[in-house]
């Protein structure tokens, strides 16, 4: 009896779990369609690689773009001040406040004496000083919304290219456009939107099959955030023949040197900004809480171990390139997604908005969703944590009724949940691999053991 029910339900379970991750990521009024789309994808599941018809981004999701813009505008107007006062949404590297400081100091030409007030690239400050006036609110809003839509566009184009299936591409677009995390970080007017756009460009050219360009943009991303450098591995998996790799190396170096050069010139031929940004990241100077793993660690760790741990964790954030490359050499897209995830989890000053980009790419892994085991748990955990963060912050800092541990606990769990996505996907991927190799071995009760 029980068993039968179980068997009957597994089918539902797959789809439902598949959809849940959507639910967790994109809380949008979108899932009626995704259901149908799901049914289609199930039919064409085996023929995934066959490309569908042409896919026009704006044509297919105009309504969602409209809703997205609406949400973002509303969010900025209602919640901007609240959100920028919340540590998990901003970081010194991206927050609008520090940007304003930078621009004002630039205008009063005090940048040289600023000490470590500025954590932004000279080019960024130049941009917001000359091109877009940082003090004009509407302009900023337009700027950020524009970049979000660009990101969504690039991502869904890439998705279409990869899966050759317009519905998946659509889902990807929706996952980004209607993702509360993306909306929130847009409402903060963080530079995160800009960074996401850069990474999205990388993904786009990655999918379009141009090693040179994607590496070039990766170069830019590396200069602005430093940690994305790990993504080069996925590019090399994707384009694994030597000519391409050399191309990509050329592109990467070109991007890095170009962007660094620009900043060097703009900062009056000094490398001062480097220590203020990369040094700042490497030896974790600012212990302001964020949604990352390490802020509380570095405020608590014993002084004589500090340097040791700094280097260990720095190494750790680059450590996964090799094993992941070995493990996922045959699935660059998954590799890319997971690298993006690790990027968010292990970087020193993450913001919630950073997560939006890999979450948007998750639907590309839909064929694995049937064998995800913690999807419900992860989805609920992430939602709960994101809701809990402001409350814990309030209890700690405003009302004083709680202490730092509360907030730390939430951020920790949030990150563990993210790591579980990685773990789950890897497991699912290898199960799928095994199933492809020896389908006859696999039955209901099969256990899988790492050997």
């Amino acid at each position: 009896m029980l068993r039968r029910r179980g068997t009957r339900n597994t089918g539902h379970e797959e789809q439902s779990e598949l959809e849940t991750t959507y639910y967790a990521d994109a809380e949008g009024p979108n899932l009626t369609e995704t259901l149908q789309s799901e049914n289609e994808t199930d039919e064409i599941y085996d023929a995934t690689q066959t490309f569908g018809g042409p896919y026009s981004f704006f044509g297919r999701n105009c309504s969602y773009i409209a809703i997205a813009i609406l949400c973002r505008v509303a969010a900025v107007l209602l919640f901007h001040n609240f959100l920028i006062s919340q540590p998990e949404w901003t970081s010194p590297l991206v927050s609008i406040k520090n940007l304003r400081d930078g621009v004002i100091l630039e205008r009063e030409s005090l940048t040289s004496a600023a000490g470590n007030l500025i954590r932004m690239l000279p080019s960024v400050i130049f941009f917001f000083n000359k091109v877009i006036d940082v003090s004009s609110f509407p302009l900023l809003i337009i700027f950020h919304i524009f970049f979000d839509i660009v990101t969504a566009y690039l991502l869904s184009k890439a998705a279409f290219k990869i899966q050759g299936d317009s519905t998946v591409a659509q889902i990807v677009a929706k996952c980004f456009l209607l993702n509360p995390l993306a909306i929130g970080s847009c409402a903060c007017l963080n530079l995160t939107t800009f960074h996401n756009a850069l990474l999205a460009t990388v993904v786009y050219f990655f999918a379009q099959g141009s090693a040179m360009l994607s590496s070039f943009f990766l170069g830019l991303a590396t200069v602005s955030q430093m940690f994305p450098v790990t993504l080069i591995a996925s590019i090399w998996i994707q384009f694994s023949d030597w000519k391409q790799i050399i191309k990509s190396i050329i592109g990467f170096t070109a991007g890095v040197s170009l962007y660094l050069g620009i900043n060097y010139v703009l900062s009056g031929n000094t490398w001062g900004f480097a220590s203020n940004i990369y040094g700042f990241m490497v030896n974790y100077e600012d212990l302001k809480p964020n949604c990352g793993l390490f802020w509380y660690f570095y405020s608590q760790v014993f002084e004589h171990f500090r340097t040791f741990y700094e280097y260990v964790f720095l190494a750790n954030s680059f450590l996964y390139v090799l094993p992941l490359t070995l493990a996922l050499r045959s699935d660059p897209v998954l590799h890319l997604t997971l690298s993006l995830l690790l990027l968010v989890t292990l970087s020193p000053y993450p913001t919630l908005g950073d997560a939006a980009i890999y979450m948007a790419l998750l639907p590309l892994q839909q064929r694995h969703f049937k064998s995800l085991r913690y999807s419900l748990l992860i989805a609920c955990t992430i939602t709960t944590c994101v809701c809990l963060m402001p409350i814990m912050w309030h209890m700690w800092v405003v009302s004083g009724s709680g202490n730092a541990n509360f907030y730390f606990a939430v951020t920790l769990i949030y990150n563990v949940a993210q790591l579980y996505i990685l773990l789950d996907l890897l497991m699912a991927y290898f199960r799928a691999e095994v199933t492809e190799v020896i389908p006859e071995e696999i039955t209901e009760g099969t256990n899988f053991v790492l050997h």
Binding site: F294, N316, L419, T446, N447, F448, V449
Partner: protein, 578 residues
């Protein structure tokens, strides 16, 4: 009659400046707010700029300090209490805000300046029983707005200064300070009674050494000053009458023979009814002062004590005219993370004043430069932007130097100007919090330096009283500074009992990530259809051990046995020897 003699001795003291000289004076005056202010000044001038090897009057400690570190100018002031300039008016000079203020100007090579500064702080720390070490380097800044001293030859000088708002001032500081004087028991010094000083409204104590030149002969001038502000009597009989006894509850004992001049000056107040007969009454900048030489005070009639009686008793309802110029700072905000620092400067005079505003913000105050605002409400309560010139700004560097802001503000007449910043607190490392972390940290007070002096009714500069008798105008050389109050910033604190837990938890999270990735890259996944093999015996054993340990832990927790007790038991068992 008498003061002629006095004057002779005096001029002797001043003119023959290639002799070491020592002058002491006490100036007692009544402020517009009916508080009484007592200023002690002890001035020692050295023979020349080469001090030592044998010291007569000039204190050896300081002499050696100056020589050893190549210091041109040195100032140290420690203060208890706050000078509420909106009630008391501009403070007497030299003054400082609550805590300790130390500044030095070095000549010589620039590369050793920081070492020398550290060394100076260290030595003063020992010499004055102070605790100044935390000043270096995080609280040390380079003053851009120095008090002027005149120097023998134009040297390149390097200035270092620091303030410690938390620094306490107490008897143990007074004693070494007193030891700097030629007369440690006799003379005016005998009035300084700790119990009265530290019970007073405001008390500051310090010294200032700087070179002085007159027709190409130069010498060091050391001025030790102590300031005491006494509260108004609010008990039943509200008589303002005072005597040295009532202020210091002891009379002057003995005369200091080393002093070329030793006088008590009493500011003449219009309500003054009668007093001991002064030797002389002099006028400085239109203010009248009664002069009492110490010898006279020690005479049998007064026996070391002089008194003043007033016609009226204190009237607290009296609407005093608002003080000429006042400054005060406030901290705004509801939470312990972000905040607003707001400094209010009131100019109640009918002319506009240009002041130099200085603020030192420690590095853990991450203030947002773009929120810096200077606004004035003029006499008609309209908001105007004042004229702001020569901005100086140097941003903070974490754990290295504080932020330093300085600007020249032109205060409109009868205006109230507001300088404000928004800021966020930095989150410190656990070792960086003070022992009483939940108390919070202090921001040094903002200061304004007046470009044009305003009269406080006091001769701020002892040079004015040096030329006793000739009632000429006297323009003090020391700049006039007004201090606001220091601010307490409650900091957001971590849980100090957590380090091990946090390290373990974060370590676990990271290892979880590693544990997810690593096996997949080194092993392969195999499907197994038969029943899984039971777990190995070792794992069982391991778990057993864990279980035992946990049980033991619970047991110890239950009959609260400390780990050390356990250790002793074990050592006893093994008869373990260290």
């Amino acid at each position: 009659m008498f003061w002629k003699i006095l004057l002779l001795t005096l001029f002797g003291g001043i003119l023959a400046s290639n002799e070491e000289s020592y002058v002491e004076e006490l100036l007692i005056s009544r402020l517009p707010s009916d508080h009484h202010l007592a200023q002690f000044r002890f001035i020692i001038t050295s023979r020349s700029l080469e001090l030592g090897p044998n010291y007569e009057l000039f204190p050896r400690v300081l002499g050696q300090l100056l020589q050893a570190h190549g210091i041109q100018e040195l100032e140290y002031i420690a203060t208890q209490g706050v000078w509420h300039s909106d009630h008391y008016g501009p403070p007497p000079q030299p003054a400082s805000s609550t805590g300790a203020f130390l500044s030095a100007k070095f000549d010589g090579p620039s590369n050793t300046v920081d070492d020398r500064w550290l060394s100076v702080v260290n030595s003063l720390n020992g010499a004055f029983c102070a605790s100044l070490l935390s000043m270096v380097p995080a609280e040390t800044y380079k003053q851009k707005n120095e008090r002027k001293g005149d120097y023998p030859k134009a040297k390149k000088l390097f200035s270092r200064a620091g303030t410690l708002p938390r620094e306490a001032l107490c008897t143990e500081n007074l004693t070494p300070w007193r030891k700097l004087l030629p007369c440690k028991q006799n003379g005016l010094i005998s009035l300084l009674n700790p119990h009265k000083l530290y019970g007073s409204l405001f008390h500051s104590m310090g010294f200032h050494i700087h070179p002085e030149c007159k027709d190409n002969s130069c010498w060091y001038r050391l001025e030790l000053s102590a300031i005491v502000l006494f509260d108004v009597p609010i008990s039943e009989n509200r008589r303002l009458d005072w005597s040295l006894k009532s202020f210091f509850d002891r009379p002057i004992s003995g005369v200091c023979n080393a002093a070329t001049r030793s006088t008590v000056l009493v500011h003449q107040h219009e309500e003054q009814a009668d007093s001991d007969k002064p030797a002389d009454v002099i006028t400085i900048n239109g203010q009248q002062f009664a002069v009492y030489p110490t010898e006279q005070i020690l005479g049998e009639k007064t026996e070391g004590n002089i008194f003043v009686r007033y016609t009226k008793s204190v009237d607290l309802h009296k609407k005093n005219p608002p003080r000429a110029l006042s400054i005060s700072s406030t901290l705004g905000g509801k939470d312990t993370f972000s905040g607003l620092l707001l400094t209010t400067i009131k100019n109640n005079e009918n002319e506009k004043h240009t002041v130099v505003y200085e603020q030192v913000l420690p590095w853990w105050v991450r203030f947002h430069y773009h929120t810096k605002q200077v606004l004035c409400h003029d006499s008609k309560q309209e908001i105007v932007k004042p004229y702001v010139a020569n901005r100086v700004f140097s941003g903070a560097i974490d754990r290295k130097r504080p932020a330093y802001i300085q600007m020249e503000i032109e205060l409109p007449a009868n205006s109230k100007c507001i300088v404000s910043y928004n800021f966020e607190r930095a989150f410190l490392r656990m070792a960086e919090y003070p022992p009483d972390a939940n108390h919070g940290l202090y921001i040094p007070a903002a200061t304004i330096t007046l470009m044009k002096r305003i009269s406080t009714g006091l001769p701020e500069d002892s040079r004015c009283t040096e030329r006793l008798g000739n009632s000429s105008e006297c323009e003090p050389r020391a700049k006039q500074m007004v201090f606001s109050n220091v601010l307490l910033v409650p900091m957001p604190v971590p849980d100090f009992s957590m380090p091990f837990n946090v390290i373990c938890l974060v370590g676990t999270a990271v290892s979880l990530c590693f544990g997810a990735v690593h096996p997949f890259s080194t092993r392969i996944l195999v499907p197994i259809n038969e029943k899984l093999p039971g777990q190995s015996i070792w794992r069982t054993i391991f778990r057993g051990i864990l279980l035992v340990l946990m049980a033991g832990a619970c047991y110890m927790e239950y009959n609260n046995i400390s780990l050390n007790a356990l250790r002793r038991e074990i050592e006893k068992l093994l008869s373990f020897q260290f």
